[in-house]
Amino acid sequence: MLTEILEELRFGTLSKLDVLGTEIEMFQAGEGDPLLFLHGTDGLEGSGAALEALAREFTVYAPSHPGFGGSGRPQRLNRVDDLGYFYLDLLDRLSLRSPVVVGTSFGAWVAAETLTKEPARASHLVMASPLGLPTADRREQHVADIFMLSRQELGRRMQVGDPLPGSDMATLAAMPEPQLRRLMRNDEAASLYGWTPYMSNPKLADRLHRIAVPSLVLWGADDAIVSQRYRDDWAKALPQATFETVADAGHRIHADQPQNLAARIAAFAAA
């Protein structure tokens, strides 16, 4: 069982899925309407509680993005724009017509890129702490630069609760090699897609009007990664969406408030 290397996902199955020649790691759990969960820069790690809560209402599909975790990556797939096309192929491969699409942080950017290309490909879109819009205006930064923070500092700032174990260098160095390899691949992929322009596609804002499905954007009340100005930019760029704030949550809302997040997603999808 592949879930042996990701203990927190033991309630479901982790298997390999061939998408047009690229082998993708796919986690699946639960029963109900289909839901595609797109993880953030830290991979599937730390998503277990939220996925388990979602799996009580939905059939959850949670892939590792190409290059992350245990997923392969076509050599020229190196922009989030490319990931948008990749996920349309993946939805075809799974015969999913219009699942609920949930993305967190970097994964919300991936969700937005996917649905700007085929706007009817979801029943509902939920973006938790989305990235993807320009993160700065010349000298004025609106999103913390994760590449300029130490591993420990970044680990602390990502949520209000405890940091992921890999945020501590000693714990990281002592990890079994398969887990360590996943984290190093997550780091590498975050850099591949997000180094420059930093965590954004300058063209995304001009395409967001195409998203026609009911959309919900959630911000953690205590998010220490994105500023109020950046949240305002998202509100302007996606006026058709509902914007809400989740109490007692940082950037990784799914880690700080997994039950509340899952309940809000289920209510939004049922409305």
């Binding site: 190196n78 590449f147 300029m148 923070l149 130490s150 591993r151 500092e153 990281l172 160095a173 090699e177 360590l180 390899r181 190093m184 691949r185 780091d187 590498e188 975050a190 850099s191 591949l192 180094w195 420059t196």
Partner: protein, 396 residues
């Protein structure tokens, strides 16, 4: 053995500022008139090296008080004009951080012409933290390095028509070198290695291979190079294909030499002053290399002393000498230490010598350079090209 004078051209007044010396050190600590005086002073010392019959090496870094040379070729453009005999080595140009490799080729050709064909060129991976200033993509770093390398070599060696280049990373409608370099097919190429496996690829290619401040590891770097060179070329490389970089503090008496060494030691301690997240940007090293580094621990990459212990960053001069990073004493002492290290590493033909480092002042640097050039260099030039045991085997 040939000797090359090298200094990082530090802005050492900033060493007193607490905290990091690279990337995050606020630029307001740089007083530009003082920077200008220091840069001119280091150029004067390079010109003295030329007069003394030594060769010259320059490097570059960015956003660092430890090194004000922000472009090898800018420094060498000055020295190409102001020196007359010295070979001029850029070691090196951080290729994968450059956005325009054709411009690199143009600068090489221009400096080679101005210097009358005295340029030697090193292409380096460069320090990881440079990525924060170049902002080039960390992933695919070495793919980009090698494409830039290939393009530059094509441009320098091209004796036919102008050409176009449509690569994975670089695209040019026309590559046309005005001027072309004097040295054909191209100026001598240098690479840097800190392990036998990286040295092997340079041995196969026949480039000059330098290793920096690696102490005992230099033996395995050179052995890897020789082995691959023999496989690819069918004969031993000459020693001028191998180079070692270290600090040298020489004086008429030991007491003065050790005082000079103490003034130079801040080179080592300031180099270590860098916040941890800048040492290894995400995506810079391959995943498997990152796994090995984490498992090996922080001390794995430190040079070792003769007792096998890692050399502490704030170690004594004697400990730095023991590890083979520092050669200190009278001309006789320095000569003997270098002969011993030369024999222990199997021989190398180039000493990349930091006769100025850290806070060593102009007067001491001039005396240091002069003593090495007059009293050590002539004897080192007589060192046999092959290590002794190899010569005896050949005779027997």
């Amino acid at each position: 053995m040939k000797i090359w004078q090298f200094t990082e051209q530090a802005y050492y007044p900033a060493f007193q500022v607490p905290g990091a010396m690279r990337v995050t050190l606020p630029q307001h600590h740089c007083e530009p008139e003082q920077a200008g005086r220091l840069l001119n002073r280091y150029l004067d010392e390079y010109m003295l090296a030329d007069e003394l019959g030594l060769n010259i090496m320059v490097n570059e870094h960015h956003a660092a008080a430890t090194c004000m040379s922000t472009s090898c070729m800018t420094t060498l453009a000055i020295l190409a004009r102001q020196t007359s005999k010295a070979r001029l080595l850029a070691l090196g140009i951080p290729l994968a951080n450059r956005s325009n490799p054709l411009r690199v080729a143009e600068e090489i050709a221009m400096v080679d012409c101005i210097s009358g064909g005295r340029l030697e060129v090193g292409f380096v991976k460069g320090a990881a933290y440079e990525l924060f200033m170049s902002n080039r993509q960390p992933t695919g770093f070495m793919d980009r390095f090698w494409e830039a390398h290939d393009l530059i070599i094509e441009a320098l060696t091209n004796q036919g028509d102008n050409f176009t280049w449509e690569g994975e990373h670089f695209h040019y409608r026309t590559a046309s070198m005005w001027p072309r370099p004097i040295q054909q097919p191209h100026p001598p190429l240098w690479m840097t290695a800190s392990s036998a496996s990286s040295a092997r690829q340079y041995g196969r290619r026949g480039d000059v291979c330098a290793t920096f401040l690696s102490g005992a590891v230099a033996s395995s770097v050179f052995a890897g190079y020789r082995e691959a060179y023999v496989e690819a070329h069918g004969h031993q490389p000459s020693q001028d294909k191998l180079a070692y970089l270290a600090l040298v503090a020489c004086a008429d008496d030991r007491e003065t030499a050790f005082k000079r060494a103490e003034a130079m030691k801040s080179y080592f301690t300031t180099a270590a002053r860098l916040d941890p997240q800048f040492r290894n940007p995400l995506g810079f090293n391959p995943v498997e290399a990152n796994i090995r580094m984490l498992q090996a621990g922080a001390n794995a990459m430190r040079p070792r002393m003769r007792n096998g212990q890692p050399l502490p960053v704030d170690g004594s001069i004697e400990e730095y000498m023991d590890a083979g990073l520092f050669f200190v004493g009278t001309p006789d002492d320095v000569y003997e230490q270098l002969v011993r290290f030369h024999a222990e590493t199997g021989g190398f033909g180039n000493l990349l010598m930091m006769a100025q480092a850290g806070e060593l002042d102009h007067k001491d640097t001039v005396d240091n350079l002069t003593l090495v050039a007059r009293e050590v260099a002539p004897r080192l030039a007589e060192l046999p090209d092959m290590p002794l045991e190899v010569r005896y085997e050949a005779v027997g």
